[in-house]
């Protein structure tokens, strides 16, 4: 089948993924109440905290405060928590964290990525097809993701990118972390990529790759399908394999049971 993803024979799949993880902001580690209070907090939901990964944030630690990474992490472990990463901190603290096998996690707060329509993002369709998402600061340690929990930790916000113009040949647009909406047509030789769904309010004549981070629930919608290639989460179909019956029609494209489906959009207008 031509719509099977390439690189199936690779011995692994490298993907970006998002985990909800606790961050322990340490401002006064030498406060005698520090561990007793933490222990009390953990006692409220012992199962949730058991072997839970935690990222230390030392940005609020006053400069010059002595901090023994080793001893601190051991005390955390005694409470059931595992320090898996360090955010911020001084050079010494970072070295100590690395020595303990912890990851250095840069502050990946919000969306720092900027959109440069012509320079593209350095991503290529091949990367999208292969599900190789180079998410630079994905949590490094494979900690078990805590189940939906009493912690008020919001999931990373999915944003929508809107392009209110025609997308010309040669232009590559990537919507990281969310949907891409194009109000206009997409020319042959143009390429749309999104971690979420792609909506084209116009004719889709170029390439559209939705769910490039591996999201199999993402979809592609367009007003007139004449695409060179469509792909969802790595499964693709080239123009030649798109049937005449659905060409130049309003369609939606989605995955179901591992197959790429292209269905006409049927609207019931009374």
């Amino acid at each position: 089948m031509s719509n099977q993803v390439a690189f199936r024979d690779a011995p692994f799949q490298l993907r970006g993924s998002t985990f909800t993880m606790m961050v322990l902001k340490v401002s006064d580690p030498h406060n005698p109440n520090f561990f007793p209070v933490l222990s009390g907090k953990i006692a409220q939901a012992p199962n949730f905290f058991r072997h839970a990964g935690v990222v230390l944030d030392l940005d609020d630690l006053p400069a010059g405060t002595p901090f023994d990474m080793d001893a601190f992490c051991k005390l955390l472990r005694n409470l059931g928590l595992m320090a898996v990463g360090l955010q911020g901190g001084t050079k010494e603290q970072q070295d100590a964290a690395l020595a303990r096998g912890m990851a250095l996690i840069s502050a990946a707060r919000g969306k720092a990525e900027t959109f440069d329509p012509l320079a593209g993002t350095g991503r290529s369709p091949a990367q999208g097809l292969a599900n190789v998402q180079g998410q630079p600061h994905a949590p490094a340690a494979p900690t078990p993701a805590p189940a939906p929990a009493p912690l008020p930790e919001p999931a990373p916000q999915r944003t929508t990118m809107v392009i209110a113009e025609n997308v010309r040949s040669g232009r590559q647009i990537y919507a990281p972390g969310g949907d891409l909406v194009v109000i206009g047509s997409v020319s042959p030789g143009a390429e749309l990529l999104a971690d979420g769904s792609i909506h084209v309010y116009g004719a889709l004549r170029g390439r559209a790759l939705a769910g490039v981070g591996g999201d199999q629930t993402s979809r592609i919608f367009c007003q007139s399908l004449d695409a060179e290639l469509v792909s969802i989460a790595g499964l693709y179909r080239v123009s030649e394999d798109i049937g005449k019956d659905i060409r130049r029609r309003q369609v939606q494209i989605y995955l179901n049971n591992g197959y790429l489906h292209i269905d006409p959009l049927v609207t019931n207008v009374a």
């Binding site: 593209g120 290529s124 091949a126 097809l129 040669g170 080239v238």
Partner: protein
């Protein structure tokens, strides 16, 4: 031993891609396993001329960047046995080409193919340099007009200075001249350069003269290499050029205006 042929011109719009498609197809028709590579990154056209644009998934740049294997990017022609196309990327630019990256792919292709035909972009910048660096043969596509001839002269100089064969002091790249869009009637009226004039300036062996023909545009628009249109004079002329390249002695055709019959002349006068 596989040979690398670069189709180049300096000037744009003279018919490099049309000639690459026709010449490569002609080689494959003669039984040689042939691969045509589009070096015009960002202005991808070869796949359109070859009629395989609906089958492009991975491209040359993906292979250079290690994002796809060569076998995944090569497109097999449906009409001609032994013919493959390596399309390029439309969303990148020439900076995506690296000498080592291109060299590695050509080495790999050399194991499989008899001829590797590099369709060069116009200009004398990076894209064109990458397309000609590894060449064993260069086919210079020239229109019979002064600016095209001057640019061809320039690109010949570049080949003689900047190709791998020049750099390493090997036997020089073999040069061939392909004159395209030749209109014998306009030559006769003095509106176009004669083949002899072009040859006098460029002084390289003449591989073929392709007459101006409506069949070329027609073939391009339906995605068919014009050499497959063996009823057209352009198609026949490309076939002849391939024969000469392979060492056959074939007389040049389509240099003189077609003899008009009495009826033609009569009709023209009244038209």
């Amino acid at each position: 031993m596989a040979k690398i042929i670069t189709m180049t011109s300096g000037k744009g719009g003279v018919g490099k891609t049309t000639s690459s498609a026709a010449f490569g197809t002609g080689l494959a028709l003669r039984g040689f396993k042939t691969c045509i590579i589009d070096f015009d990154v960002g202005l991808r056209n070869l796949d359109l001329i070859m009629g395989c644009e609906r089958r492009v998934v991975f491209d040359f740049i993906n292979v250079i960047n290690g994002e796809a294997r060569l076998s995944q990017a090569l497109i097999k022609d449906k009409r001609v046995e032994n013919l493959y196309i390596l399309p390029t990327s439309q969303t990148r630019d020439k900076d995506a080409l690296t000498q080592e990256g291109v060299g590695k792919i050509l080495d790999e292709l050399k194991k499989e193919f008899d001829y590797i035909l590099c369709d060069s972009p116009a200009g004398i910048e990076k894209g064109a340099l990458m397309a000609l660096y590894w060449a064993d043969h260069a086919i210079i596509v020239t229109n019979p007009e002064v600016s095209s001839v001057r640019d061809s002269d320039r690109i010949l100089g570049v080949i003689q200075a900047k190709s791998r064969r020049a750099e390493q002091g090997l036997e020089p790249v073999k040069e061939h001249l392909l004159v395209t869009r030749y209109d014998p009637e306009r030559v006769e009226k003095g509106e176009m350069l004669k083949v002899e004039d072009v040859l006098e300036i460029l002084a390289i062996p003449l591989l073929g003269i392709i007459p101006e023909s409506p069949a070329v545009l027609k073939a391009s628009n339906v995605g068919m290499p014009v050499v497959l249109d063996d009823k057209s004079n352009a198609g026949q002329a490309y076939g002849d050029a391939v024969g000469r390249f392979l060492g056959e002695t074939i007389e040049h055709r389509f240099i003189k205006p077609e003899k008009k019959g009495f009826l033609d002349r009569l009709l023209r006068r009244t038209a």
